[in-house]
């Protein structure tokens, strides 16, 4: 059996669903951020697979590179914010951070 576009799409969709699942169910802020990384990487797989099998040239690869850089920047900022939360509240549990509510 040859590996084709569909295999890549199945993998990326699985990653996307796992990312959404992690964002919705996890209480720990770090795990939620990992879910977000999964979503970004699933989009990357899509871009590269489409660009390879659809003969769209190198655009997809370029987009994936941009997204990788962006994901790194986002992770850096996210971890800084979570670290700051941990310093002030000594917890990273999202459910316990609820001072702003009606």
């Amino acid at each position: 059996m040859e590996v084709g576009l569909n295999h890549f799409l199945v993998v990326s969709t699985l990653l996307f669903s796992m990312g959404i699942y992690a964002i919705v169910t996890r209480k720990n802020a770090i795990l939620v951020l990992m879910g977000i990384e999964l979503i970004l990487n699933s989009a990357n797989i899509n871009f590269i697979a489409f660009s390879r099998y659809g003969n769209f040239g190198l655009q997809g690869h370029l987009i994936a590179l941009f997204v990788i850089v962006l994901a790194a920047a986002e992770a850096a900022i996210a971890l800084a914010i979570v670290l700051n939360i941990y310093k002030t509240l000594s917890t990273v549990n999202i459910d316990e951070i609820d001072n702003l509510k009606d």
Partner: protein, 502 residues
């Protein structure tokens, strides 16, 4: 082919001069923060000068309609058209006011050793919004949206020791990163269908049968998640009250005006450029698509404004109330978009211009009072109309204008919106919007009642600095004058409905 690219790039640099000036100002702020780290008093003035120079270059582009950074003979990455110019003016004016707000804000003053970061990130947001507004390519839209978001996540938590700042920042980050990730996944599917991320190219390919309808629809809905998050329409609004209440008030005001303006510009461009099929004679857009766009947008708009208005009724914190009111205003603006005509677009532009002055004004007065009494609870405003008659009256003016009562500018904004709705035979929708305005009257007037009709033995006194007075007048006078003399604004809006290529 390769030889052509370099002259094209150099020519394109001429058309993005405002963005280049903004980037240089950002670098200048960071450098002077590093070199003169003892005294940071002049950083806001560097920002103001940068914004003024940007404005001069922007005015030079008035009336032009150029593509910049072409990828082929017809397609380009950026389109610098009158439509983007209008939104850029809104963003520049609001950024100018926000820098002036920041000078007199006690909250920002408390982090004075980090002012370089503050103004630098503010410029990061502005550059992101500028590119977002004229972006003609989904990837550029995504990248500039992230530049805007990443800067605003940090700014929302600028005062590191403040608990509610940190919480606002975390909540903004989680909702924002998730929705922009979902948007990127949508873009990747769209890229798979059409082999391109350029809006005009997608528009040309959209009618080919190769595209599966269901996949296409799913990808568009995923993209709407990212844009909807920025303008906080209803299924994506959860972050708004918490972030607006928690963030420093200058940033709250900036998010509620500028970042929403950029979001609306992207939404309108995405809808119009990607899905346009043909124009009927009187300026109505015929959109291609497999769903009834108009019904979808109307439903979202009505749910958004009804939710915003009713949730605002129960709020005790003025900042949180203004957050819900900004959700409601996003609903009104969506209604203008849902008309899907040039007239509806004019109504949106006029409304936005007026919304900028009145909303920023309301936040500024709240900030000045919070500087003194350290609270934004409505109960603490008891009797403030007597001890601070000037500030009370001006806040009253802004709130009345937000409701949309004559003779203030808010009335004109709503009037144009309702005229557009009635002209498009959407009478039922207009009536629902009108009833919503009546609901909003209750919570805006409640603040006035607390300020003016209840006496309190506490007296508060604020010495208004000349700068604060001038800034207040800069927002209060347009709020009054545009309610009476509004024809220049309307003709400016009429010239600005032109998108590149249409």
């Amino acid at each position: 082919m390769n030889k052509l690219i370099i002259p094209d790039l150099i020519n394109s640099l001429n058309s993005i001069l405002p963005e280049i000036v903004l980037s240089f100002t950002l670098v200048a702020i960071i450098l002077s923060d590093l070199i003169f780290h003892k005294n940071k008093k002049y950083l806001p003035y560097i920002s103001l000068i940068g914004l003024i120079i940007t404005f001069v270059f922007l005015i030079n582009q008035f009336g032009k309609s150029d593509p910049a950074f072409p990828v082929s003979s017809q397609l380009s990455l950026l389109s610098l058209d009158p439509f983007s110019l209008f939104f850029k003016v809104i963003i520049l004016v609001s950024s100018f006011l926000i820098v002036l707000f920041s000078i007199s804000s006690k909250e920002i003053e408390s982090g004075s050793n980090r002012h370089g970061e503050y103004y630098g990130l503010l410029f990061g947001m502005i550059i992101g919004m500028f590119f977002m507004i004229s972006a003609n390519d989904l990837i550029l839209i995504y990248l500039s949206l992230e530049l805007l978001s990443l800067s605003s996540y940090i700014l929302a938590g600028f005062v590191k020791t403040s608990l509610r700042n940190s919480e606002a920042s975390l909540k903004y980050l989680i909702y924002g990163a998730a929705s922009s990730g979902i948007m990127l996944f949508g873009i990747s599917i769209l890229y798979g269908i059409f082999g391109s991320t350029n809006l005009q190219e997608i528009n040309a390919l959209i009618n080919t049968p190769a595209a599966s309808q269901l996949t296409f629809l799913i990808s568009v809905i995923l993209i709407f998640a990212g844009i909807g998050f920025k303008i906080s329409i209803v299924p994506f609004h959860f972050w708004t009250p918490d972030v607006y209440e928690g963030a420093p008030i200058t940033i709250t005001a900036f998010l509620s005006v500028a970042s929403k303006a950029a979001g609306f510009a992207v939404l309108i461009r995405f809808l119009k450029v990607t899905f346009i099929d043909s124009f009927t004679g009187n300026g109505y857009w015929q959109l291609i698509g497999y769903i009834d766009w108009q019904t979808l947008l109307i439903i979202i708009a009505i749910i958004t404004m009804t939710f915003g208005n009713f949730a605002a009724l129960w709020q005790d914190n003025l900042k949180r109330m203004l957050a819900y009111s900004s959700i409601a205003h996003a609903g009104y603006l969506m209604l203008g978009v849902s008309v899907l005509s040039d007239q509806g677009l004019i109504a949106v532009l006029v409304y936005f211009f007026i919304y900028m002055f009145m909303n920023l004004g309301a936040f500024y007065v709240v900030m000045l009072i919070a500087n003194k009494i350290n609270s934004e609870e409505i109960d603490d405003y008891t009797g403030i109309g007597y001890s601070l008659p000037f500030l009370g009256t001006v806040l009253g003016l802004f709130l009345v204008s937000l409701t949309g009562l004559p003779p203030t500018a808010g009335f004109i904004g709503k009037l144009y919106l309702f005229i557009a709705l009635v002209d498009a035979n959407m009478i039922t929708v207009a009536i629902i919007a009108l009833l919503n305005t009546v609901v909003s009257l209750y919570y805006y007037i409640r603040v006035l009642r607390v300020m003016f009709l209840i006496k309190s033995d506490k007296t508060v006194s604020i010495n208004l600095s000349p700068l604060s007075f001038v800034v207040l007048m800069f927002m209060a006078i347009p709020t009054l004058v545009l309610g009476i003399y509004f024809s220049p604004l309307v003709s400016f809006a009429k010239e600005s409905v032109q998108l590149l290529g249409f």
